[in-house]
Amino acid sequence: MNILVFVESAEGKIKKTSLEAVAYANGMGGNVTALALGTVEAGELASLGKYGAKKVLHAGDAKLNDGVIQAYTNTIVQAMEAENADVLVLANSSLGTPVAARVSTKLGASIATNVTELPETSAGFVVKKSIYTGKAFSKVELKNAKKVIAIKKNAAEIKEVGSDVAPTTFAPQLTDADFAAKIVSTEKATGEILLPEANIVVSGGRGMKGPEHWGPIEELAKLLGAATGCSKPVSDIGWRPHHEHVGQTGVKVSPQLYIAVGISGAIQHLAGVNSSKCIVVINKDSEAPFFKAADYGIVGDAFDVLPKLIEAVKAGK
């Protein structure tokens, strides 16, 4: 089986979720080729070999620095054809998922997104997907010869299994039509740990009382190497940027550790965090529904508990 993995990068570095996609493809036991687009550091490209890619393709045209959905689609389709690939693996993301949709249509492939585990291949080709916003799973058979699999975070463990591979240049044939949707500019937080990628998330709710009180949340996040998140009302009122909004209608996270401070734990918020490995809840109301979904809880005032927690983390370092 020939597998192509579409890897995404940010600021020249391969995204961790994409390394998971390489690890996933490697776990499937096929012949893995990784494809990166736009400007990526040479060392980063080569290192894909370590995580399981036998071959690394690089379409380095600067026009591909922005994630233009149609241009990415056609680049991937051409790479699939060139490599005779049966399966495309990628990480679910704001770029990966829309691109996967178009690629699958072009190839006549079966598609599954939000995939959480390696396929079972004893009878057919069956993948497990997260559905109902984390409240359930479904097992679906992918019946077509070609398949597109978009994985959810933590579907595979990143492991070093090989050594560096020298990248091969890949030059797709693209037309103006592929750039019809023109990206004018990008506004992006730099240097921050991104919410969908983070292993630890520190999240604040309306209980934080105002944007001026986010200092301790940010300090704790920094200490832990965590991303910051928030509940929907917090981003609705504009206390925090929209891309930090976690939940049913926001970002779905699956970190190792989710720390929720002053968030009541409404079912729509829980829908975005229920695949976290460990959940810590800090809330002054012992009846807050979030405690029922938590692994560890502290009943207390955030403004009292957070400074103590920051000190304890510092002391434990």
Binding site: S94, T105, S110, F137, L142, A181, Y296
Partner: protein, 246 residues
């Protein structure tokens, strides 16, 4: 201008999810169904565009059996002009997208809006498949959409920020907040929705590439361990040694 808004009919966000028939069917017992929250944002934005541009019509489309009609009527009450129901179970993304594309081809819409994903299967791919089938750009997740003649200015959310785009009509967009605020139907809307046209069409045959084998529920969560606010250091120790996440 003609706008198509595709809506899903999904369990209310507070629903408990259960399955029947040996875990092969969703248990709709006691479940309240709603317009998908992301689709609801798309609909709200479409209505705003209609209100600001005389001569614009908004059609809603749902792929679903007859029991989705109250959900469709709600979209009409919110302000859509007419509706189409493709009479079939929405079994998978490709199936649904193909039905949408077939209908859209016969009309020729300037703008096709829907949610970034449905909240039942969370596929997040219908907009892209429709775009590819119709040979139009598809953009998702779109958090801002402004029209300027035959051009649109959009913002697409990306990890850690957003991307600002320009694209010519027609195109397909998967929408999310804060593109518009959800609209609540008023009495006049509810009354007029009863008589607005709702056309039922039969589906086109699609060779689906996926088939459901079964559903599963996640394992039940263990009990929460409480730590005293006077002993916060204990939490750090537990996270390190017991949960092993620090």
């Amino acid at each position: 201008m003609k706008i198509l808004v595709c809506i899903s009919h999904v369990p209310d966000t507070t629903s408990k999810i259960n399955f029947t028939d040996n875990n092969t069917k969703f248990d709709g017992n006691g479940v309240q169904f709603i317009i998908g929250p992301y689709d609801d944002y798309a609909l709200a934005r479409a209505i705003e565009i209609k209100e600001a541009n005389a001569g614009t019509t908004v059609t809603v489309l749902n792929v679903g059996p007859a029991d989705t009609e109250p959900t469709i009527r709600k979209a009409l009450a919110i302000g859509a002009d007419d509706a189409v129901r493709v009479n079939a179970e929405p079994t998978d993304s490709f199936f649904v997208a193909k039905q949408i594309a077939e209908h859209a081809k016969s009309i020729g819409y300037d703008l096709i809006l829907m949610g970034r994903e449905s909240i039942d299967f969370n596929g997040g791919v219908v907009h892209g498949i429709v775009g590819e089938l119709l040979g139009m750009p598809s953009l998702s997740p779109v958090m801002k959409l402004e029209l300027d003649g035959t051009k649109a200015k959009l913002a697409r959310e990306i990890e850690g920020g957003k991307e600002l785009l320009e694209v010519n009509l027609p195109f397909v967009a998967g929408c999310q907040e804060p593109i518009a605020e959800w609209k609540i139907p008023n009495m006049r809307g509810i009354m007029s929705a009863r008589t607005k046209p709702l056309q039922v069409v039969e589906p086109v045959v699609v060779d689906s590439g996926v088939s459901l084998q079964k559903f599963e529920l996640p394992p039940a969560k263990g009990a929460v361990k409480m730590v005293s606010a006077d002993n916060v250091a204990e939490l750090v120790t537990l996270l390190k040694n017991e949960a092993k996440v620090l």
